[in-house]
């Protein structure tokens, strides 16, 4: 069974407060804390689009990809709904194609 995409998960460093995604158990990139100091937590999946572009794939298909600044701090790159533009507020949804950010007020 594949891991469900939602809720998005991240790591929260108990020592320095740094929040990052995706989840990993190797250690905090900000301060080096590891083990029990780094906790796996759900994220809201809500954020603001910093930039959005249409990408032309071989074969003529186009997709919309953006940089999303999540409420908790991390920046992620992800598929966007076709109508999403920079500065939109968005939320994560799960689709057959995977993770998709759509317009939505928090």
């Amino acid at each position: 069974m594949p891991t469900p995409l939602l809720p998005l998960r991240g790591i929260h460093c108990e020592r320095c407060g740094h929040v990052a995604t995706p989840v990993q158990h190797f250690g905090c990139e900000s301060c080096g804390a590891h083990g029990a100091d780094v906790a796996d937590r759900p994220l809201t999946g809500e954020g603001t689009v910093l930039g959005a572009v249409t990408v032309h794939r071989p074969g003529g298909e186009t997709v919309r990809i953006g940089s999303v600044h999540l409420q908790e701090g991390p920046m992620v790159r992800a598929l966007l709904a076709a109508d999403v533009v920079a500065e939109d507020r968005v939320r994560a949804t799960e689709t057959d194609a995977g993770l998709l950010f759509v317009r939505g007020d928090h």
Binding site: Q24, H56, I65
Partner: protein, 382 residues
């Protein structure tokens, strides 16, 4: 207290050689590499047995690239080391050769870059961490997103970015070692095949094959080998840093700013003294961003300075007179060594129609995946 390059023995580039950067062919990497190495030795007037150590930058040729290439110069038993640092492999190979000579471990060293077009394996994909954007954020997508943010926040347009490609393609048209040697118009670049966001194919670098080599020596080596100091280009500084956490700011640009600042400070020069810049323009947007974070122009001023010809050959500072990664090309292993070759040619006043008048100071910059950044500052012969 750690020493700086300027505290150690002076180091000079005295020989440069290239094999044209080009599309993938059946040519062996040995032929590519030997062409560049023999040209660099001839240019320096240094016989191969005088070379005491060699560093070879390469990313897609597998393990142990040096000896299968260098043994055909006649075996001498010297230290040979392969250097892999993604796009900055050649820059790091050069840095290691320079440091060996500066520290006194060698009087004559070579930095070489050689590569063929082939898939590369990235350690990042073997960490076991599954990124949310797996397979989504290819390099053109990453830079298209940075471009979208940059152009929108500065009220600039797609044509402002396309002017980077226009300048660099037309510089490369006069460079016999460039991958792309065709003159282009702004309209052609803008109307070319769209890749991602505003980036068209001609605003993305070609990754092919090629080779580059340089000979670096100490003053003692120069005297011993009877090398003419009038063609010797001094390496003033060598800086290398890796990415930190920058929040939502562009890590490529932030890392570039910090590493460039270190290189200029250690060279004891001001950014306003720089006459030549060869930078990591794998995608056209990078040139605009990096010229600003390097301090070559004010924040937000790159599009207008470019439009006014300040970065053209003959302008205030010639940026990528070789054609840069966009048009000279980006065979990866050789790219950083190729930058040193171009800057050396310019600082010797031997760049022909591409010559930046009165060029005294040059800066070479590459960013490699990871990200790492390497910057060197070089000065013309006294």
């Amino acid at each position: 207290m750690a020493v700086l390059l300027s505290d150690l023995r002076p180091v000079y580039v005295v020989g440069i050689g290239l094999h044209r950067f080009q599309r993938a062919t059946d040519t062996s990497f040995v032929d590519l590499g030997l062409t560049a190495v023999r040209a660099a030795l001839d240019d320096a007037g240094v016989p191969w047995p005088e070379v005491e150590t060699a560093y070879t930058g390469s990313t897609r040729l597998g393990m142990a690239v040096s000896r299968p290439l260098l043994r055909h110069l006649g075996v001498t038993g010297i230290a040979m080391t392969q250097v892999e640092n993604a796009s900055a492999s050649g820059s790091s190979a050069f840095r290691l050769a320079v440091r060996d000579v500066a520290a006194g471990f060698a009087d004559v060293a070579m930095a070489i870059g050689v590569d063929k077009a082939a898939p590369g394996l990235r350690a990042e994909t073997l960490t076991g961490i599954s990124p949310l954007d797996e397979g989504l954020t290819t390099p053109p997508v990453h830079f298209a997103l940075l471009a979208e943010e940059y152009l929108r926040s500065r009220g600039a347009g797609a044509e402002d970015m396309a002017r980077v490609a226009l300048k660099n393609h037309n510089n490369a048209a006069d460079n016999p070692f460039a991958h792309r040697q065709q003159r282009r118009t702004l309209e052609e670049i803008l109307a070319d095949r769209p890749i991602a966001g505003a980036l068209t194919r001609l605003e993305c670098c070609p990754v092919g094959e090629g080779a580059a080599a340089v000979v670096v020596v100490s003053e003692e080596g120069m005297r011993r080998l009877g090398i003419d100091p009038a063609r010797a280009v001094r390496v003033l500084s060598s800086a290398q840093q890796s990415e930190q956490l920058y929040g939502t700011r562009s890590y490529d640009a932030e890392l570039t700013g910090a590493t460039t600042q270190q290189a200029l400070t250690e060279a004891g020069v001001s950014v306003t003294d720089v006459d030549i810049v060869e930078l990591h323009d794998a995608f056209a947007i990078e040139e605009l961003q990096y010229l600003e974070t390097m301090g070559i122009c004010a924040e937000g001023a790159a599009p207008s300075c470019l439009r006014d010809g300040e970065f053209a050959i003959g302008g205030r500072v010639a940026v990528s007179p070789s054609g840069g990664l966009l048009a000279m090309g980006h065979p990866i292993g050789p790219t950083g060594v190729g930058q040193i070759a171009e800057i050396t040619r310019q600082l010797r006043g031997e760049a022909g129609v591409r010559q930046q008048p009165d060029a005294r100071l040059g800066l070479a910059h590459l960013v490699g995946l990871g990200a790492v950044c390497v910057v060197h500052v070089l000065a013309a012969p006294a």
